[in-house]
Symmetry: C2
DNA sequence: CTCCAAAGGTATGTCTGCGAGCCATTGGCT
DNA sequence: AGCCAATGGCTCGCAGACATACCTTTGGAG
C-alpha cells in the first residue's frame, strides 16, 4: 500500500463538532472582513439553512461569539446579530508545527487564483469591485489592515468564478492570519504591501496571467519570510 | 456586507453525515489507487482513530462497500478488509454544473504542486518514488490507468511536503475523476498522457519549477478540453 | 498441541445535534 | 393606535454517532 498518501486520505473526516465548526465559520466571516464591524449577520434561520446545521447549533455558536465580544444580538423586526465596532484581540498562539504546510498551500492557491483571474475576461462590475477593494486596503489603518487585506485577496479568488477555489483561499487565509496575528505589523510593511497589491491588481485588469502570478508570488513570499523569521527562532 | 464572498464562507459546514463522509474517504482511497486491489485496508480500529469517527461508523461504511463489491472482509488474526481484484463501474453521472469549478481548482492545485515539488531538494527515496509511479502509469493497462495516473499525481503532491496540499489534490482529483469516468479513454490519449507525464517528472527531478508548471498545465488542459467537449454538448 | 494476539462481529447506554413548534420583542406600516 | 412581519429566545422528543465492553474467529509462535 502506498504509505504516505494515506496520511492525506485517512485524515479526520471532521475538523470538530458541528458547534465548533460553526463558530469557526462565523469567526472567519468577521476576521476576514466579509461582514464588517457594524454590519449584520444573516438571520439565525438563514444561517442554519446555509451552513446546513440546526438553528440550535447556530444559536450556540452565536452565543459563544457574544461571550467573546465579537457580536451583539437585538430582538424584534430589523433586529439581528451585529458585529461589534471594536473586536477582541485574536486567540492565543496555536502550534506552529505546520508553518510549511500553511505557507505552501497559500502560495499555490493564491498565485493560482491571481493567474486564473487575469486569464478571464472580467465584467465591469468585477473590475470595479477589485479596484474598490484595492482602494479600501490602501487607505486602511493599521488596526483594520488585516481585514481589508483579506477582503482584497478574497475578491481576487472570487473573480476566478470558482466557488471551491474561493472557499479554499478563505480557509487558507484564515490559517495564515492566525500566524500573522503574532508578528508585528509595521508601517513600512504596509506601504510595501500596498505597492505589491497595486501590481497584482494591475496585472489582473490588464489580463496578464504571468505577471499577476509573479506579482502575487512576490507579495506572498514577503510575508512568508517575515513569518519564518519571527516564528522559527 | 460583501455579497459574493458569503457564498464561500457560508457554505455548508459538513458535506454529509459521518457515515457518508467515511464511505467517501474509503472509496477515494480505493479509486485513487492508494490501496490497490488485493491489498488490505487498515484495521477498523485503526481507521476509526485516523478518521476521527467511531468504529461503528467505520463498520457501517465498510459494510456499504462490501455490498457494492468494492471490498471483502475476513476474520481472525492476519484477516482484515481487502480490496477486490475486480472493481465495480463507477456510480452514475452526477451533475456537471460545476465543471468550471472542478477544472479551475484542479488546475490551480496541480500546477502549483508541480511547481512547488520542482522547487524542493528531493531526497533519493522521493526521487525513486516518483520514477516508480511514472513507470507504473506508463506500463498500465487501460482498465487500471485512471488509478495509476492518480497515484502519480498524488505522489507529486506528496513530495511538496504539505499534507494540506496533498489532501486538497486528492479531493480535487476525486471530483475530476467522477467526470472523467463518463468519457471514453483511448489508447492515443494514454500515450499522449504518458509523454506529458514524463516531461512533468523530468522537470521536477531537474528542479525546474517553471518547466514543471508548464508541463503540468499542458497535461491538464488536454483532459480539460476533452471533458468540456464531451460534457457541454 | 496449545496458546494468544489481532482482526472482525455484536450489544448497550449516553450524548450531541436536529427538527419542529411556540413564545417574546421590536419597529415600520396602515 | 393597532397590526404584523421578521427577528431572537426557548423547549422537547427523536435519530445519529459515540465510547466501551465483550464475543468469535483465525493462524502463527512457542
Amino acid at each position: 500500500m502506498a504509505e504516505h498518501a494515506q496520511e492525506a486520505l485517512f485524515r479526520p473526516v471532521r475538523a470538530g463538532n458541528a458547534f465548533e465548526e460553526t463558530v469557526e465559520r462565523l469567526m472567519q466571516s468577521i476576521r476576514l472582513g466579509v461582514v464588517a464591524p457594524g454590519e449584520r449577520l444573516p438571520s439565525e434561520r438563514d444561517l442554519a439553512t446555509r451552513l446546513g446545521v440546526s438553528r440550535v447549533t447556530v444559536r450556540e455558536a452565536i452565543r459563544s461569539l457574544q461571550e467573546n465580544h465579537y457580536v451583539e444580538s437585538r430582538r424584534g423586526r430589523y433586529g439581528g446579530t451585529f458585529v461589534n465596532e471594536v473586536l477582541p484581540k485574536s486567540a492565543p498562539a496555536k502550534d506552529f508545527g505546520d508553518l510549511h504546510d500553511v505557507l505552501t498551500l497559500r502560495r499555490v492557491l493564491e498565485t493560482g487564483a491571481a493567474e486564473t483571474a487575469a486569464g478571464r475576461s472580467l465584467g465591469p462590475a468585477e473590475r470595479r469591485g477589485l479596484r474598490a477593494r484595492l482602494e479600501e486596503a490602501s487607505t486602511s489603518t493599521l488596526a483594520e489592515y488585516r481585514r481589508k487585506d483579506s477582503r482584497l485577496h478574497l475578491a481576487i479568488a472570487e473573480v476566478t468564478g470558482s466557488a471551491a477555489l474561493t472557499a479554499a483561499v478563505a480557509e487558507s487565509r484564515m490559517r495564515a492570519n492566525e500566524l500573522l496575528d503574532h508578528i508585528p505589523l509595521l508601517e513600512p510593511n504596509l506601504a510595501h504591501s500596498n505597492a505589491q497589491h497595486e501590481r497584482v491588481i494591475a496585472s489582473i485588469l490588464d489580463g496578464d496571467p504571468g505577471a499577476a502570478r509573479q506579482a502575487m508570488a512576490e507579495h506572498l513570499d514577503g510575508t512568508a519570510s517575515l513569518l519564518r523569521g519571527f516564528l522559527s527562532v
